[in-house]
């Protein structure tokens, strides 16, 4: 054991000196940080202002479109206000938070805020709680900016000729002058004068569907960016419906109220304790949390398997193995390598966990945040100990296979042919990872749980779904037994293979080594 310890110590110390290890350690938190921060940053900073022209020849729709897009902007502003409050204001300690009603940042919240005084009201309420070093609030840039038609175009020209004349601007061949800058046009919305006749009604033939009239024409070169189009569509159709109510003699205001009427539906989880069964939005996220652990398990197992393989092959290809074997038995060498690299893996995972806690804690400012809900779950649930257990057992099993492969190969290239089949096997849990949470105690999940190579991943995946105890205990026992058998067989292959030179043996030959008595 002393010698295995010495081997393990060297493996550990030498591996954590390698660049690959540190890249692994820092890559994960970096990706975590970037994936949580960059999209927000991009949305805030890097999205350019979209300029559009709106030509309304019918005269009835321009104001509703403008006001709808205005509301869109206000929602964004409210969201920014909420973020600002979360970041720079101390939490409310006494009494209710008057700003809590705006947390959803939807149309109703915007209406409520507008009724109370808009942004100024919000900031005034926030003022006493603001931290000392809080910067002043910066309103988000306007995403959609209307611009007037180019001067040489006539707003009352017919739609086809307007479209023709706007093409060069939309293609980016010509620019418009707005606010002293040359800007390029993202979209043109052309509402023809006969728009009323193109309205489609159920049980009635479309009145004037013809080649000349398309309804509203939305011109844009970028088809993936559909937000503006959706806003316009909704605003116009809301207005069309409002007019339709009026035309049919109904009360549009009443209808608006009706539209806001609803019965709440609450999701309840029978597995939660009485009084706390209500499913919150965070609970859904928690259901997916095990998947994150499965992924982590996969990445870490895959990563350190590679290290184990290259370290084993290094000793073979560098001819160090023989002098080692005059000092340690193959068994001691194998165990030393296995545990040395296990320690490397645990170090890396601890670093990752640490960074997860740091990132989550930094982001877990408000109670509404998902991070704030994940953190206590991570701290109290059995997820972390389960992860540690399955990591170790999974590692022992895959590690045994890797050591057997490494011991019979002289170069990484030779090892690739064996490794490719192992990698293929390892892809299975990755592919089923997203299906299992949907039916965590279903047939697929249960079958995969009982296959030792997949047990760690599948059981981790089912962790939040309280699988039957027979699955929990049975698969665990099977996994431990399989890991032990894998290690025993690997030991036999390792002992014979490690001194071998030349072509790697065929599988049949290795099976012979395993069956051979001592």
């Amino acid at each position: 054991m002393k010698y295995a310890g010495l081997v393990a110590r060297r493996e550990y110390l030498e591996t954590i000196k390698t660049r690959g290890f540190w890249v692994g350690v820092f890559m994960f938190p970096l990706i975590l940080f970037l994936s949580t921060s960059v999209p927000a940053w991009l949305a805030q900073k890097a999205t350019p202002v979209r300029y559009y022209v709106l030509v309304d020849q019918s005269g009835g729709f321009a104001p509703v479109v403008e006001s709808s897009l205005g509301k869109y902007q206000q929602k964004k502003e409210l969201q920014a206000l909420n973020d600002y409050a979360r970041q720079y204001a101390a939490p409310v300690t006494n009494g209710p938070n008057p700003l809590a009603q705006f947390i959803s940042a939807d149309a109703q919240a915007v209406d409520k805020l507008n009724a109370l005084g808009g942004r100024d009201y919000y900031l005034k309420q926030l003022q006493p709680r603001l931290k000392d070093k809080a910067p002043p609030f910066k309103e988000p840039a306007r995403l959609y900016q209307p611009v007037p038609l180019p001067e040489d175009l006539q707003p009352d020209a017919d739609v086809p000729s307007l479209a023709r004349d706007l093409r060069p601007y939309l293609r980016g061949e010509k620019t418009l002058n707005f606010d002293g800058h040359a800007v390029s046009l993202t979209a043109a919305i052309l509402i023809p004068s006969n728009i009323e006749q193109t309205i489609v009604r159920p049980n009635a033939k479309p009145a004037a569907w013809s080649a000349e009239t398309n309804g509203i024409e939305y011109w844009a070169a970028n088809l993936t960016e559909s937000d503006l189009r959706d806003q316009v569509t909704q605003a116009v159709n809301d207005e069309v419906r409002r007019k339709e109510f009026l035309a049919r003699g109904m009360d549009a205001a009443a209808f608006h109220d009706v539209e806001q009427t609803y019965v709440p539906v609450v999701s309840l989880n029978p597995k939660k304790e009485a009084g706390k069964e209500t499913v919150k939005s965070g609970d859904v996220v928690l259901q997916w949390l095990p998947s994150a652990f499965v992924y982590l398990l996969w990445v870490s197992l895959f990563g350190i398997s590679q290290m184990l393989l290259s370290n084993t092959i290094e000793e073979k290809s560098n001819r160090i193995i023989e002098v080692l074997l005059s000092s340690v038995t193959p068994g001691e060498l194998m165990m030393g390598k296995l545990f040395g690299i296990a320690a490397v893996g645990l170090t890396m995972i601890s670093a990752w966990m640490f960074s997860v806690f740091v990132v989550l804690s930094a982001k877990a400012g408000s109670a509404g945040e998902i991070a704030g809900q994940i953190l206590p779950v991570l701290k109290t649930s059995h997820l972390l100990p389960m992860f540690a257990l399955y990591f170790l057992l999974g590692y022992l099993m895959y590690g045994a296979l890797i050591l057997a492969i490494g011991s019979v190969c002289n170069t990484l290239k030779e090892a690739q042919s064996y490794m490719s089949s192992l990698t293929l096997l390892m892809m299975v849990p990755l592919m089923t990872m997203t299906y299992i949470p949907k039916d965590p105690n279903g047939t697929l999940a249960r079958v995969l749980s009982w296959i030792p190579l997949f047990t760690p991943f599948t059981m981790m995946n089912r962790a939040m779904a309280d699988p039957p105890w027979i699955d929990m205990v049975g698969t665990l026992i099977l996994l431990i037994a399989s890991a032990a058998v894998a290690l025993w067989m690997a030991g036999k292959v390792f002992r014979t293979g490690i001194l071998r030179t030349g072509q790697p043996p065929r599988i049949v030959e290795m099976i012979k080594w395993i069956r051979r008595a001592e």
Partner: protein, 333 residues
Amino acid sequence: MPGQPTILNAAMSTSAPNGSAPLELRGVTKYFGEFKAVDDISFTLPAGCICGFLGPNGAGKTTTIRMILDIIKPSGGSISVLGRPSALEVRERIGYLPEEKGLYKKMKTWSVVAYFATLKGMSRSAAKLRAFELLERYGLKDFALKPTDALSKGMGQKVQVLASIAHDPEFVILDEPFSGLDPVNQQVMEDIIRDMAARKRTVLFSTHVMQHAERLCERILLIARGRKIFDGTVPEAKRIIPPRVQIETADDVAPLRELKEVQSVRALVPPGPGASAPARWELELHESADPQSILQFCFARGIRLHSFNQSEPTLHEVFMRLVGPEAKEAGFR
């Protein structure tokens, strides 16, 4: 093949300081499948001597050494190392330099030496001190803190030798320690071996360069095709080849052929056309013959000698005589 000489070890000390020979092989045999790599080798190595382990390529030297170190198990026979059935039981007291030599490329030179020393039971602090001390003594001080892939091949090999003896073992096995070394470092290697012997360590090293064996060894073990051919001291080995004298004369040597001491007469430089130029002859004598009697005979018969040279056979000649024909066809391994 000439008859196998019987060597008696009785006169020699066969006891290690702890009372048993460093190495004892009894009827050791090794099969690889159908192939008999080592065939019934018995051998006892007395303590404190330098023994050359000789044999042509593919003779089974490395296999034998691996069995001695318990890296592979013999198919038959028994091995005792420092009195124990397995070398691993006494691994702290054994040093080994394998034929295939390699180092961890990214590790620092001192820490490779120290690592192997700790695997041999030294404490980490002692191993570190020892590593720096050895590297300094053998001119590698400047490389101690560099990774081993900065070393040249010869330096790397020196580092390995140092790694294998850093724990000051009482029994050292070196497999082809001279291969790949330049003459200067071959000399360093010889010094290392002599130094160990001077401190009463037992050294077994394999080589197929006979000059090294001849300069260093007190004893040799010669094997070919897995079988022991010779086992004994160097003078004993040389006695296998009959005593020879070389003479230079312009006269007729025919009378020498009649002598009972003379086995054969061979012309090294045949007589020239003019009888005045001396020819060189080699006379092979019978084992017990006294070369001085040849000299007396020549005087008596009036054979005028330009030179008379009584040359001792080299180990190379012994080797060629014993295993030359086999070595030629030994391409297998």
